[in-house]
């Protein structure tokens, strides 16, 4: 290992960790070339990131990273996430998770099965959440007392059901926690800030970072994700 290669590898790691872009046809193109062609640089970058519990993916001539499962240094606590999104209660945070998931499934049915949807709009997501929660909402028509547990999907459905579509016609485009449209907008804003979506005229397009993670992460960690979903009450965000 030469000092020069180590230096380049550290440059790449540093740019990625600081949220910078490394793309062949964009920012830091030189670093992309180094990663792509220099075997040693590639190895060093991967070793460092692995030790830091960070996953790296290549997509469309660009490099993208994400924190590995349970990454306590670069992961988010529930409180940090709530602050980032702009919600206060746990059930609101879970509602945002659910909306994000609805957005994800608009674009991808499975890890490698794209729906070829070009963009989505707020109303698509609202109706998607409606449909995804519909069979739970059916159960809510007749509801026994003390049946709503904290952190359950029933609580989630109730939160959604109890919200009006919009507060006023004028505020329909504003993000907020008191209407369905506001909540979806809030989640969209967060996804845009995370570099996952691009907004143009009320339409949201998936960015390469979103595609890179959707097409790579979930297939690779399929088994582990199912294990956690079925077994544990663990929360990666905690």
């Amino acid at each position: 290992m030469t000092d020069k290669n180590l230096d380049k590898a550290l440059d790449i790691v540093s740019v990625l960790i600081n949220g910078g872009e490394i793309k062949k046809n964009g920012g830091s193109a030189g670093l992309y070339e180094e990663y792509e062609s220099g075997t040693e640089v590639y190895d060093i970058v991967n070793t460092i990131l692995k030790k830091l519990n960070i996953n790296i993916y290549e997509y469309n001539y660009g490099l993208y990273i994400t924190g590995g499962e349970g990454n306590r240094i670069f992961g988010y606590t529930n409180d940090e996430l709530k602050k980032e999104i702009g919600v206060k209660l746990n059930r609101e945070l879970y509602m945002c998770y659910f909306i994000m998931y609805a957005v994800m499934t608009r674009f991808y049915k499975a890890g490698n099965v794209s729906t070829f949807t070009e963009y989505i709009k707020s109303e698509d997501v609202i109706s998607a959440v409606d449909s995804l929660l519909s069979h739970i909402m059916g159960d809510l028509n007749v509801l026994g007392a003390s049946q709503i547990e904290e952190g359950s999907f029933k609580e989630l459905a109730l939160t959604w059901e109890d919200m009006p579509m919009v507060i006023t016609e004028e505020s329909s485009l504003r993000a907020g926690r008191s209407s369905k449209a506001g909540f979806v907008k809030l989640t969209f804003n967060f996804m845009v800030s995370q570099g996952l979506l691009l907004e143009s005229d009320g339409r949201y397009y998936p960015k390469d970072r979103f595609k890179a993670l959707m097409e790579n992460y979930y297939d690779r960690y399929k088994g582990r994700l199912y294990e956690l979903l079925k077994g544990g009450k663990e929360n990666a965000a905690d």
Binding site: I17, N18, G19, I54, T66, G67, E69, F74, G75, Y76, N78, D79, E80, K83, L93, Y94, Y97, F98, M100, Y101, M104, T105, Y108, K109, A110, G111, N112, V113, S127, S131, L132, S134, H135, I136, E149, G151, S152, F153, K154, E155, L156, Q194, L196, F210, L213, M214, Y217, Y218, D219, Y221, K222, L225, Y226, L228, L229, K233, E234, N235, A236, A237
Partner: protein, 510 residues
């Protein structure tokens, strides 16, 4: 313009009828607000007014309609007794029972007053009050008897949805009866009801399809239910439509020659038009359902196939999370999409928590009992002490001997101390160690040594002299010289060279 007129007419003129139609539900919801936890200190908190009302209604229907007799208060009381013990597992004394039954009866009868609510009558622009009773009373043979009002009966019968029969078919039977009785206007109303049912089924079909596209397996369940409650009656409904169409045609041909009955003719035409519309709508629904069937099969087979794929299925993962009913688990699926969290934050609430922590009023010191602290002496310290004492002993004896003799051999000194202290004094290894150290230098002057000890031997000499607490050795000086060829035998075990010791200082002789 015409559409607007129809819209306004429907809103305004039908409003009263709608209000009259929903009035039968009002007492039920009003009564369910009864909170038993506020009655008698909450000891009947488990009672549920909604359930009790339905039970009482059923009891009254049994007595009033089936047995064709009114109900006395005593009969009601006996019925309620069963409800308490069987359904709520309450054991009550006779007095408690009577009191509770009366309380409930008064509630259901609304203390004898009708249940009322207000609504706005748009055609007359006034507020109207709707009144409704559930139970009414009359006197028969000097006894007060109770009976259900027709509204209450209608409400009770309306609460159970008849799932296993087609609403459309029932309406068609009614339609046939109406056509036969020449009630064409009423027939048109019935057809409108049929149309709304067809529309409802269409909407239901869309719901099933939407659910299926999100969650195939939940969708499949909904589809199955839809087939059982909707689609399976299609053939029968089609036949009824044909039959009714025949009836309308017959009525039309009978009335066509009748010039006096133009109003009836008009009604029949309207009926026919509505019926035709209904038939078209119904066939549309049929086609949509066939399409739904095809799509459902396709989706189910697709979903089954995708389960076999190695790829991560997002809808399946969501289904798993929902089965576990752990919404927080969704965080696991979202976390990979998030950027690294490089902003490290300190929550201000922690400061709050620090400030609001209850302070300890007085800091308590550690309690120490009366036990005496143990003193540990380690092995090396013991050894050190021994060496110190032994070296001091030999040094002082040597100095004393030097004071007495100006020149002497080490062997002579040995004999001297052996005489004084016995053989053991020469068997001590410390003595020989001391000799080795002592031979490290040729000459010693005690005064000088006391000022500045240089060697290991000199340090022990200082300690020994200081311990003796006298200045009598201060002026002593001595020189050492090895005597070549002379050795001292040590109990036939070892030999050491003999040494000549010559006093150099010491001003006096004892």
């Amino acid at each position: 313009m015409a559409d607007d007129y129809i819209l306004a007419r429907e809103i305004i003129h039908d409003h009263s009828a709608r209000m009259m139609n929903i009035k039968k539900y009002y007492p039920y919801f009003k009564l369910t607000e009864t909170d038993f936890s506020a009655y008698q200190g909450g000891k009947y908190g488990m009672l549920d007014m909604g359930y009790i009302l339905m039970a009482v209604l059923r009891f009254f229907i049994e007595e009033n309609s089936f047995k064709e007799k009114d109900v006395t208060y005593n009969e009601y009381g006996l019925f309620m007794k069963d409800i308490y013990s069987r359904d709520f597992e309450l054991t009550l004394s006779e007095d408690e029972e009577k009191e509770l039954s009366l309380y409930i009866f008064d509630k259901i009868r609304n203390d004898g007053k009708p249940f009322t609510y207000q609504y706005f009558e748009p055609s007359e622009k006034v507020k109207r009050t709707i009144r409704m009773r559930i139970i009414d009373s009359r006197i028969k043979d000097d006894t007060i008897c109770y009976y259900l009002t027709s509204d209450a009966i209608e409400f009770y019968l309306d609460t159970k949805e008849i799932k296993d029969e087609s609403t459309i078919s029932i309406a068609q039977v009614l339609l046939s009866k109406m056509i036969e009785n020449k009630n064409f206007k009423g027939g048109t109303e019935v057809i409108k009801r049929i149309n709304s049912e067809v529309n409802r089924l269409k909407m239901k079909k869309n719901d099933v399809l939407a659910l299926m596209s999100e969650d195939v397996f939940e969708g499949a369940k909904a589809y199955e239910e839809f087939v059982n409650t909707g689609i399976k009656w299609f053939d029968e409904e089609q036949k009824s439509f044909e039959k009714n169409m025949e009836l309308v045609k017959e009525a039309l041909s009978r009335t066509e020659g009748d010039t006096e009955n133009t109003a009836a003719l008009q009604d029949i035409f309207e009926l026919e038009t509505e019926l035709k519309k209904a038939i078209v709508k119904h066939s549309e629904l049929l086609n949509a359902c066939v399409e739904l069937q095809r799509m459902a099969d396709e989706m189910i087979s697709d979903a089954k196939f995708s389960r076999l794929r190695r790829s991560f299925d997002f809808s399946d993962a969501l289904k798993t999370a929902m089965e576990e009913d752990n919404a927080a688990g969704l965080g696991l699926l979202i976390a990979p999409l998030l950027t690294l969290n490089i902003k490290k934050t300190f929550d201000f609430t922690y400061i709050d928590r620090l400030l609001t922590l209850p302070a300890i009023k007085e800091e308590k010191g550690e309690e120490i009992g009366n036990s005496v602290e143990e003193k540990y002496v380690y092995d090396d310290e013991l050894e050190e002490q021994r060496i110190d004492e032994n070296f001091g002993f030999y040094i002082i004896n040597l100095l004393k001997y030097i004071q007495q003799r100006e020149t002497f051999k080490l062997s002579e000194f040995n004999d001297d101390i052996r005489e004084k202290y016995g053989d053991e004094v020469l068997k001590n290894s410390d003595f020989y160690t001391l000799l080795v150290h002592m031979c490290g230098k040729k000459e010693y002057i005690v005064k000088e040594v006391l000022k500045k000890p240089d060697t290991f031997f000199e340090e022990y000499m200082v300690k020994a002299v200081r311990r003796a607490d006298t200045d009598e050795y201060d002026d002593i000086g001595f020189r050492l010289e090895k005597i070549e060829g002379e050795e001292i035998s040590l109990f036939d075990i070892a030999h050491i060279s003999d040494v000549m010791i010559e006093r150099t200082g010491c001003t006096y002789d004892r």
